[in-house]
Amino acid sequence: MSKPKFAMYWAASCGGCEIAVLNIHEKILDVDANFDVVFWPVAMDAKYKDVEAMEDGSILLTLFNGGIRNDENEHIAHLLRKKSKILVAFGSCACEGCIPGLANFSSITELVDTAFSTITTDNPENIRPQSSYAMPEGIITIPTLNPVLKTLGQVVDVDYYMPGCPPESHQIAAVIDLVIQVLQGKAELPPKGTTIGAGNSTVCDECKRTRNVKTIKEFRRIQFTHTDPELCLLEQGIPCNGVATRSGCDARCPTVGAQCIGCYGPAEGVVDYGARLISAFASVIDSNKPEEIDKILDGLVDPAGQFYRFNLAGSLLRSSKSAQKG
């Protein structure tokens, strides 16, 4: 009997998701033993035509990482949706846009103009890359950028979401175990739309730092602070996002004295991450005086980035007006 088919694809991403999968070490052999890997550009021959030739729904499981930045990404998303029984938005980019989603604060004209006018750019003719360009020998083409970066779920129907930048390797291993058990009839798949490979609470719930009375008189920036290694970072005034962020990473960053920056996305049941975090921060401010509150809030130097760092593309806002205009 032939083995079920497995695929993994990267759209606009950094490659960290692939490294996280490789970091499951010997567990990767379980994937090989239980699946026929039919499409995985990082690890094997990547031919779109082979995928196009497959029957619809013939790939059992596809892990799709990266956001949808250009027309090629979007084309492959549609193709893999059609060919896959189970499509997983794998990692922060596919789930909610991640750091590249911060591009949605700008128009693509601004993005390209900036890159092609830096101080070291020698560009007297003010050239911009063209999706189709006629050279003496013939026309050569490159993909066209979309006006805004989209999440996978904004482009196609997604079965499961696996958050994290990148997903932690122990979570990846656990999900692979689960799918193998399902194949062996020993477990059932969770309901469609479920977030997998993560917890259902918050990073704060996983964090081992001590929490006392969570109130603050000021926000402090990490470079100006020798933080207490035992005490909650938010209580020390560090704008740590753990309170709004989904658990699953073992509170990795706060454990080493760095604030949670929110890479696991909104906690279970949170509709808009930024709104949730704003209310959480507001609730710890120890003041009733408007002027004093304003002063405390001035300590957050980049509210847009603070509240929508990883999830702008997937948030209710999605993008700024200038980005929508293109």
């Binding site: 692939e18 990082v42 930045r69 092609f116 020698d122 930048c165 933080t227 960053c253 980049d302």
Partner: protein, 488 residues
């Protein structure tokens, strides 16, 4: 006119794509190497607090986030005019040395190495890490996995996470290490030195001991006489984390040595309308197109460049290998691109030795790992050697330390012009009268695989065979032949 499209060679920023045009006689007229994606970091990092740059720019590359983390942290130190305490610097460099060992190991055993260990003519199915295991012995697979694990363990101990480390901040780090952790790191480093020596021995036995392979390395197909760039310490020895940028000419003599902050006086980036990536070159030599020689500003930044640009290695075992390298290949500089693979192993040994040096420094466990900045933030440049080339981050901020402008010249980007030239030269030399065969595929692949380009799976993959497809089209664009190469 015939046209050969190699797509995808995959990518980091999009799928790299090679177009080869043939004339009526079936000989190469031109080649284009296109990078089809842009994410816009230089724009959307504006408005962010500068202390977040080591976290945001990590996400440029999940394969070498450590390099961006370090360049960003150093640029942010410079923005605040803060001097990182000695322990802080050493911890960063220790993390970075362990990362180098992991990175160079992956490339040698899974990507570049198989060409040599198995031979460029070996069946495709054997030209990968599994073939290497069969030829060298089963234990090597375990050693490679162990080296990757050890490297990542150190990154996690110091950097907090295996991918996208999070502990470097302006002025130092958020944490230090304990004596217990130090011992573990030292133990792993000592193992890494043995592993690096073993790897050089493998190279010596299998590659240098085989005349065919050695001829391939010193042959003309893969030779370009360009400038070479690398960071050097105060004694002009190779350093990955800190120092001045030194550039030597095609004659091997120092052309310029500059402080990171002065990079813009020496580097400019050429623009072409058919790709999203720019082509850096030496500003004061000038852009003369995709050509080599002393009058062309094209330079290379790779392990071989770093060795060419330096006077030696700062650790004893690596220095001995450095001398052997130049004695074998006929003195400095070495222009043959395939020698990058050998240079990479010498760097692996240096990184492992440096790892142990730092792990055994009496001050490495000191709690003095962070200096609080006191000056008003302004502007700063941070440069490190990424495994694939000199990596430059330049930030401008307002008086609150909020970023107002960003310039990035990323590792592989330095080599965009030389890679393009290498592809053209290989295609020119190998495609005659329209004859294309599987040998061509691998020979063209080898031309850019030596650079370990971070455009895609060329960098880090299992089992390590780069997917490649060459479509040969007739004048109407109809495919007349398709050649493929698969991984097993």
């Amino acid at each position: 006119m015939q046209r050969i499209t190699i797509d995808p060679i995959t990518r980091l920023e999009g799928h790299g794509k090679i177009e080869i045009f043939l004339n009526e006689q079936g000989n190469v007229t031109n080649t284009y190497f296109q990078i089809p994606e842009l994410r816009g970091f230089e724009r959307f990092c504006v408005g962010r607090p500068v202390e977040e740059m080591p976290l945001l720019t990590n996400r440029i590359c999940g394969v070498c986030p450590e390099a961006h983390h370090m360049a960003a942290a150093k640029a942010a130190d410079a923005v605040y005019h803060v001097e990182v305490p000695r322990t802080g610097k050493m911890l960063r460099e220790l993390l970075y040395s362990a990362f180098y060992c992991t990175d160079h190991t992956t490339h040698f055993y899974a990507l570049g190495g198989p060409d040599f260990i198995m031979g460029p003519d070996a069946p495709v199915a054997e030209r990968n890490i599994l073939g290497v295991i069969h030829k060298v012995g089963l234990e090597i697979g375990g050693k490679v996995i162990q080296m990757r694990k050890y490297g990542h363990t150190v990154v996690e101990i110091i950097g907090g996470r295996k991918v996208h480390p999070c502990t470097s901040i302006p002025g130092g780090l958020t944490k230090g290490i304990t004596e217990e952790q130090r011992k573990e790191i030292e133990m792993m480093g000592r193992w890494a030195i043995e592993f690096a020596q073993f790897s050089l021995q493998v190279f010596n036995d299998i590659v240098l001991g085989n005349k065919t392979y050695l001829d391939l390395i010193v042959g003309d197909v893969y030779t370009h006489k360009t400038y070479y760039m690398g960071l050097v310490d105060e004694k002009n020895k190779v350093n990955f984390y800190d120092g001045k940028v030194r550039v030597v000419g095609p004659d091997g003599k120092e052309y310029v040595k500059y402080e990171p902050k002065d990079y813009a006086a020496h580097i400019a980036e050429h623009v072409e309308p058919w790709t999203y990536l720019k082509f850096p070159y030496l500003k004061n030599v000038g852009w003369k197109g995709f050509v080599d020689g002393p009058d062309s500003g094209v330079y290379m930044a790779t392990p071989l460049s770093r060795l060419n640009a330096a006077d030696g290695m700062a650790t004893p075992l690596a220095q001995a290998e450095y001398e052997k390298f130049y004695n074998t290949l006929g003195g400095k500089p070495v222009h043959q691109r395939l020698a990058i693979h050998w240079a990479r192993l010498i760097e692996l040994l240096y990184a492992a030795e440096r790892w142990v040096e730092l792990a055994t420094d009496p001050e490495i466990t000191s709690p003095d790992f962070h200096a609080i900045p006191t000056a008003t933030p302004t502007e700063g440049v941070g440069i490190v050697e990424a495994p694939r080339g000199t990596l430059t981050h330049h930030y401008w901020t307002d008086e609150r330390g909020v970023v107002t402008k960003v310039n990035l010249i990323v590792g592989t980007t330095n080599n965009y012009a030389p890679i393009t030239m290498s592809i053209k030269k290989a295609a020119d030399s190998l495609i005659k009268k329209g004859n294309v065969n599987e040998g061509l595929l691998n020979m063209v692949e080898m031309a850019f695989r030596a650079y370990d380009p971070c455009f895609g799976c060329a960098t880090h993959s299992l089992p390590g065979q780069m997917p490649l497809e060459v479509t040969i089209r007739d004048a109407e664009g109809n495919p007349v032949n398709v050649l493929k190469q698969f991984c097993e």
